[in-house]
């Protein structure tokens, strides 16, 4: 069963701030990718930060809307919780799910490609932008 923890407004702001920062780093690293084909450290760092941005944004959204978030490491719980928010919880959960499916591979595997990094950054941006719809300010 998912481990769910209560979240207070200060933590919502903290997670929102982290989400924005992670996304900024991800997008900055994308600019430094030298070749679109092949894998690179820049792409891996961009991808890892994009994933962190998405997770933090999801925590902020769930924290604001539901007053709680899934415990760290509980990916399925995080997706399920995000799915229950409105507006657009299902789509947001799908984006988070896409980010989380690559998380383990990136942490323990090799470099990733520019295409993967850009795709993850796009999903992360959508999650970070969605914070606005819940009145969340970082």
């Amino acid at each position: 069963m998912a481990r769910i923890v209560d979240v207070n407004p200060a933590l919502v702001r903290q997670r929102a701030g982290a989400a924005s920062e992670f996304l900024q780093v991800a997008e900055e690293r994308l600019e430094f990718i030298r070749a679109e084909s092949g894998e690179s450290a820049e792409a891996q760092v961009a991808a890892s930060n994009a994933i962190a941005a998405g997770i933090s944004a999801a925590d902020a959204i769930c924290g604001k809307a539901l007053g709680r978030r899934a415990n760290d490491g509980d990916h399925r719980g995080a997706v399920e919780l995000l799915d229950s928010v409105k507006p657009g919880g299902s789509k947001l959960a799908l984006r988070l799910s896409k980010l989380l499916s690559d998380k383990s591979q990136l942490q323990y595997g090799g470099y990733c490609s520019a295409a993967v990094a850009r795709s993850l950054a796009r999903e992360a941006r959508k999650l970070v932008e969605a914070m606005n719809e819940f009145g969340i300010r970082s």
Binding site: R13, A65, L66, S84, K86, P87, F134, R137
Partner: protein, 217 residues
């Protein structure tokens, strides 16, 4: 309006806060949870508000174990309106920012020139602790090359647009980029405040501008 609690433009009661919480959740929530998420009212007070909404039909209740839980009745004919109001309230600050950007664009004319203007929110609205009477504090940094009358027109336009769209006074701290750099290098007290809390929503990021100005010393 209170930009830190925009739903108050439509409802000043706990019912409004309860509806805002329930509009964002599809999960059943206890009265205590609604009060905690809303950040307002005691649990008993919130339960009374929820009971009034249940009577109205816009909220449904179900007993789960020893607790009463509440969910939005999204089949209620008023629910689409309630959702629209809640979501509009949540987007209030973003919409004010859009009003500012639109006003700036109209004053400046040239989008390439307009893109060089840095606009940041600071103060109580940026911190999220503003009240009904709070000013909307904006820091606007214009390129040094802009003509004085262009800058003044832009400032006046933004000020009027913000007041018209919120009912709040708009306090604009305007500077040229050269003046801004001077403020940073001289250690002006406002700079620390901007570095801590200013949120740039148009043009160059103010925190990066501060670091660049410090780095060039």
């Amino acid at each position: 309006m209170n930009l830190s609690d925009p739903i108050r433009s439509v409802s000043t009661t706990l019912e409004g806060k309860a509806l805002r919480v329930l509009a964002h959740s599809t999960e059943p929530l206890t009265g205590a949870s609604v009060a905690r998420i809303a950040g307002a009212g005691s649990a008993p007070g919130m339960r009374l508000a929820l009971a009034r909404l249940v009577s109205d039909g816009t909220v449904q209740t179900r007993r789960v174990g020893a607790a009463d839980t509440y969910t939005a009745n999204r089949r209620h004919i008023m629910w689409p309106v309630i959702e629209s109001v809640v979501y509009a309230a949540d987007m209030a600050l973003s919409r004010v920012e859009a009003v500012v950007i639109e006003s700036l664009g109209e004053s400046i004319g040239d989008p390439i020139q307009a893109a060089q203007v840095s606009i940041s929110l600071f103060g109580s609205v940026a911190r999220g602790d503003s009240t009904l009477e709070s000013d909307v504090d904006l820091l606007i940094v214009f390129p040094t090359t802009f003509a004085d009358d262009l800058v003044q027109n832009a400032i006046d336009g933004v000020s009027v647009a913000v007041t018209q769209s919120t009912g709040n006074p708009c306090n604009i701290y305007a500077a040229t980029s050269e003046r801004f750099t001077q403020l940073v290098t001289s250690g002006d007290a406002m700079v620390s405040s901007w570095d801590r809390e200013a949120r740039t929503f148009h043009g160059p990021d103010v925190r990066r501008m501060i670091r660049d100005a410090r780095g060039n010393v």
